[in-house]
Symmetry: C2
Subunit: 237 residues, 2 copies
Amino acid sequence: MVEFAPIRSERVYEKVVAQVQSLILDGQLKRGDRLPSERHMVDQLGISRASLREAYSALELIGLIETRPRDGTFIKEEAGSSLHPLALFFLADDNFEEDFLELRRLLELQVAGLAAQKMDAQAAASLHSCVQRMAETIDDRMSIELDKEFHRRLAKGSGNRMLVSLLDAIAHVVDHHIEANRVHWFQQPEHRRRLVDIHTHVADAVAAADSEGARRWMEEHFGLVDEMRRLHQEVKV
Amino acid sequence: MVEFAPIRSERVYEKVVAQVQSLILDGQLKRGDRLPSERHMVDQLGISRASLREAYSALELIGLIETRPRDGTFIKEEAGSSLHPLALFFLADDNFEEDFLELRRLLELQVAGLAAQKMDAQAAASLHSCVQRMAETIDDRMSIELDKEFHRRLAKGSGNRMLVSLLDAIAHVVDHHIEANRVHWFQQPEHRRRLVDIHTHVADAVAAADSEGARRWMEEHFGLVDEMRRLHQEVKV
DNA sequence: GACGGTCTCTGGTCTGACCATAAGTCCAAG
DNA sequence: CTTGGACTTATGGTCAGACCAGAGACCGTC
């Protein structure tokens, strides 16, 4: 059964939002940077001021930018005061990497533990098939997709939709930051083998409803991630 | 030294956003509900369509609503697919309560453990002064504020700004849902005593840099919260 | 040098228009 | 009768242009 995604034409303001987010994630826009004035921006983008303001108000609401009347529009300095703190995920800086990984590790361990308690045999089998395909494919990009899919299914299996949502958000940022590096990891057969190995153990533990084991192997997973990060020091996040 | 907050006039679109968020949190707007058409809404609110659309685009970006061209604007059915999954916090439903508490407990335990490792003597003392004032005041609302302040300082002390942000967001929803119930808790002297007691122990553990102890007493805290929730079955979240 | 007006820039708001499209309405041709 | 097409009306998406308030720069007058 093939599923078709409904056609959804992207609105102008969404393109602007995506562009600004991209620039922030890429580090081309940093905390405190000033954006062009609305009227100049409108000229550059070739859109109406109304559309631009839709984009700006959205970015402001999620806490990424800040507009100061009679002054200008700026990338937010203190993202913490925002109503929608996920914006923090975009504003990387010095300690960002550690904070980020710490949170992710915490959530993933919890997810592994919960999934082991709640996933039925069929769901656990789908984890195994994920790992299986990961082991077989020779396409690096496919490997990465399967890796992400594994964690996604695990999160769904935890039964806690908040955890699913948060990890989704994290995955979004990770995609931007470490895609290239993850390719490196998969390209080294040794690393690839260990990754597949660990994922298998997690899946095994989940299938055996072994909550503690699932946590332990997920912990192992992050140990490996740490190790790889140290190897590639240029790795961001 | 008294600090004055800069005057910040609220924009029109922010008021609209706040109103919609409120209606969702209060349950007056549920998943799938249809909002009035833009032109009707404009009449009801007495604002321009441009401002309304700023509000709608912001709400759409954070995943709370969904606009379908030539159809209408609706409260989102599946908040999970959003780019900004914190919207989930607003869309309570059946299992929401458990998921929510599970996540909060996880984060608060981590915060307690980290804070014990990282907070210096002065910061720990500020925790104690919080608890002290909590024990002394007879104003219930003040007690609640001090309770929140305690957890906020603890989060800051963890040094992980992501945790701070997430707990801020959670606090925002909690404020909407359980303010009234928290008053009940504080009104019973026995409960109040135990709450103060537990907070004191957490502060003690933090001051002693006893990470495990801080986690344990925070665990105790959530045990008490669970107990109180069972007593007041009408309690939401 | 000090005062005060003016000019320009900023974001905030509003008005009114146009577009594409879907759904319903109605009428005429078959 | 049914059927097909035209028309109307609703929707959201976009745009152009206008006005406002306020802050700062500029410049002339006193």
